[in-house]
């Protein structure tokens, strides 16, 4: 029997009824073939409205319901739930959007009504062929993989581990801690970054539910939500952490000195080294790139002096497989490459620093033990210029986005500078001040008012060296005059970029990146910690620039999202997935090639869909030359019939 369909036309107060003659829509539809019942009502989404739908489904024995109302993004689930409570399969209920796509954008009532009728009729045609589908059930591995051991990754790991979920935390550097461990003090409270982070680092490393892989990289992730398999490459450290006593003998004898990443090149380190004293795991690492060679052993001095015999040149890279149910990407950021900032002399003049280098100067554990000294001559800078938006908010030349944290840390830098150099003068070039966080505005104001930092609104055009001074040419747009400052030091609030491995990681996780290279969230407002790939979540700056409190909040958010998946006995996956008509399939494999989710494979010369991986995008359907594959409930026939209604009848 053909389906008995009911049509429910919503007035949405006057939102729809103001432009669309809803009575006419209901009347026309009631005469449409196969329509058992059609009615209009003032607010379909209200309880009485929903109850009416439920009652009519039962009374008229409907097996299809079309609600002509607002966008399906809003009330589709409302009405599907209502239909379900009346015994219908949720896929027997569809929304015809006659508000956002009709009543709200048209004025001519007659034409809008005509269009609303067409839209609704089209959905009626679609629903005729809708299948009753059941969600696909997927088992769940109750473990999570977190990629990145900065504050975002650490916080997510702790929140998850404390929720009794096993965590695999992967960090590519020898130690966890990320950029936060490099910072001196944090705005707006000026508490010491290391002091608040190291307890968390210790906690995560000791937590029985956390498996920590440092000096490791995720190489491959296959599978799907609830059931990922990750391959993790653990690079050889050539030092056995269990034996290493942190005596530092090896480092002492090591003849190789390379720039120290932790201090952003402001100091050097040896080929065998510990990144910083509180590093976790607490062990040395032999940097094979810098070492003269372990195979054959070219130097071996470290091995000679190591009493506990912790040095082991035979260590090999190891690939570890881990099964997890969810993945959190917390890969943080890199600073914008200095190559791009030639106009400010960054990279050319040693006294032009970036924000992180300045942090190291400020840090008690830093190269100058917390004294602000010029790298070139170890003199205390008396005039210092901070340049905000270095590489940010510059769509023509650099990055179009705002890096969000620079206003605040520049204010902090200027303030701390004043704390160190009381007689010094700090200038800040800014476009405008963005201090949206709690206590931030006050913090910036204090910098300006209490510390006497001179804020200049305008851009710096050029920085060059002249007679041992850094000449800063800029413009004060408020005063409308050109400015020249002869400074001892320039600090650039460099833009932050997605970390260097982000692109590769995005590919292997099959998650999207936005146009700036940050990981794309599923919805900018409503799903900010989810990626578009089910089971992959985002935390911290990997998703977009943000400060520590926001990062920690998002990390917590990501953790709860993971929990909400992993706490279920099994996952439900949308059944709107592709299906192969095997009698038409010739096994050409073009669908396999185009599938963004690797959900299709060939078996015995026919395509086969992994329904759990399939997201129902339908790219395969448009690629298949034989119409042998299509997405359930949005088939070629449904499209064709909709076209037929939209274009066929000449009313």
């Amino acid at each position: 029997m053909r389906k008995k369909i009911g049509v429910f036309v919503c007035h949405c107060g006057i939102n729809i009824a103001g432009t669309v003659d809803v009575k006419t829509v209901a009347k026309e539809l009631s005469q449409y073939p196969g329509i058992e019942y059609a009615v209009d009502y003032v607010y379909m989404c209200s309880d009485p409205g929903q109850n009416m739908i439920i009652e009519k489904i039962m009374e008229k024995k409907l097996d299809g319901v079309v609600v002509a109302c607002c966008s399906p993004n809003l009330h589709e689930s409302t009405f599907r739930r209502a239909a379900q409570s009346a015994g219908l399969n949720p896929f027997e209920c569809e929304i015809a959007n006659i508000r956002e796509q009709c009543s709200w954008v048209h004025k001519d009532k007659e034409k809008a009504t005509e269009k609303a009728i067409k839209i609704t009729e089209g959905v009626v045609e679609k629903i005729r062929w809708n299948e009753r589908l059941q969600p696909i059930k997927v088992p769940v591995t109750k473990r999570a993989l977190i990629i990145g051991g900065g504050i975002a990754g650490i916080q997510t790991a702790l929140d998850l581990a404390n929720s009794d979920i096993e965590v695999v935390l992967v960090e590519k550097n020898p130690s966890i801690g990320g950029h936060m461990i490099q910072l001196s003090e944090t705005f707006p409270t000026l508490d010491c970054s290391q002091c608040i982070l190291t307890p968390k680092m210790v906690e995560v490393s000791k937590h029985p539910k956390v498996k920590l892989y440092t000096y490791s990289e995720v190489q491959e992730v296959s599978g799907y939500v609830g059931n990922f398999q990750a391959k993790i490459l653990q690079k050889p450290r050539y030092v056995d952490p269990d034996k290493c006593t942190l005596c530092d003998e090896c480092s002492q004898v090591c003849p190789v000195v390379v720039p120290n990443e932790f201090d952003l090149g402001l100091t050097g380190r040896k080929a065998v080294y510990i990144p910083f004293p509180q590093a976790i795991p607490a062990t040395y690492t032999l940097d094979i790139e810098a070492c003269p060679g372990v195979l054959p052993i070219a130097c071996g001095k470290c091995w000679d002096v190591c009493e506990p015999k912790a040095i082991n040149f035979d260590m090999q890279p190891e690939v570890i497989e881990e099964k997890v149910g969810a993945v959190v990407v917390a890969t943080g950021y890199d600073l914008y490459d200095k190559k791009n900032m030639a106009e400010y002399g960054y990279g050319k003049y040693p006294d032009v620093l970036d924000g992180l280098q300045f942090e190291r100067l400020l840090s008690a554990s830093g190269p100058t033990r917390g004294k602000i000294l010029r790298p070139s001559d170890h003199m205390e800078p008396k005039e210092i210029v901070f340049i905000q938006c270095a590489g940010s908010r510059d769509p023509e030349l650099h990055n179009k986005y705002c890096s969000r944290i620079c206003c605040m840390y520049t204010a902090k830098h200027a303030k701390l500078y004043k704390h160190h150099v009381h007689d010094g003068q700090a200038y800040v070039f800014y476009i405008d001040i963005r201090a949206g966080g709690k206590g931030y505005e006050e913090f910036v104001n204090r910098s300006m008012e209490e510390e006497g930092v001179l804020y200049l609104r305008g851009k710096v055009s050029k920085v060059f060296e002249e007679n041992g001074k850094l000449v800063v040419w800029g413009v004060d747009t408020l005063a409308g005059q050109d400015i020249e400052i002869r400074a001892d030091m320039v600090v650039l609030a460099m833009a932050i970029r997605p970390s260097s491995g982000a692109e590769k990681l995005a590919k292997l996780l099959k998650v999207a990146q936005d146009s700036d290279g940050f990981f794309a969230e599923a919805h900018p407002k409503l799903r900010p910690v989810e990626s578009l790939t089910a089971g992959v979540f985002l935390a911290g700056v990997a998703q977009a620039p943000k400060d520590i409190p926001d990062t920690v909040s998002q990390a917590g958010g990501a953790a709860i999202k993971v929990v909400s998946i992993l706490s279920q006995p099994e996952l439900l996956h949308s059944p709107l997935v592709a299906r192969v008509n095997k009698s038409l399939c010739t096994g050409c494999g073009m669908c396999v090639e185009v599938c963004p989710f690797s959900a299709i494979s060939l078996h015995e010369d026919k395509a086969e869909v992994n329904e759990v991986l399939c997201e129902g995008c339908g790219t395969c359907a448009a690629t298949c030359l034989r119409a042998a594959i299509e997405v359930k409930n949005l088939t070629h026939l449904q499209i064709y019939d909709m076209l037929g209604v939209y274009l066929g009848g000449l009313r």
């Binding site: 966008s71 399906p72 993004n73 959007n97 508000r99 956002e100 796509q101 009709c102 709200w104 954008v105 048209h106 004025k107 001519d108 034409k111 809008a112 005509e114 269009k115 067409k118 839209i119 089209g122 099959k510 998650v511 999207a512 990146q513 936005d514 146009s515 794309a520 900018p524 578009l532 709107l576 185009v594 963004p596 989710f597 997201e615 129902g616 995008c617 339908g618 790219t619 359907a621 448009a622 690629t623 119409a627 997405v631 949005l634 070629h636 499209i639 064709y640 909709m642 076209l643 037929g644 939209y646 274009l647 066929g648």
Partner: protein
Amino acid sequence: MNKDHEPRIVAFLCKWCSSAGSDMAGVSRLEYPPNVIPITVMCSGSVSPIYILSAFNLGADGVLVSGCHPGDCHYIKGNMYARRRMALLKELLPYLGLEPERFQMSWVSAAEGVKFTQIIKDFVAQLKPLGPQTYLRRSL
């Protein structure tokens, strides 16, 4: 030629960007001509060329395919495949003498209600002078 002809347009809108963008136009109460009937598909990558040809065959005066901007695709890269397919169709149709204005592709993000509105306005405006599409239209 009938200059007063009201063009009939079918717009294939991807669910995540362009359909959401058209919703945004609605939310913002932007006005555009009622000539376009949207068909929401999951992804512009799912729009088969035969849909477009069929739409013309069934009497459409214009067909719009709209997807997410490159890099923004909800399905990572469905729109990239669409771009290729539609590039060929865009070349082929005028080669056969169908006015190139009748088939259009656009990128409209979920936030671009204004852009969506402008596209529909422009599309309708460029179709109007062409009159009805009779070339591929089935007349029994």
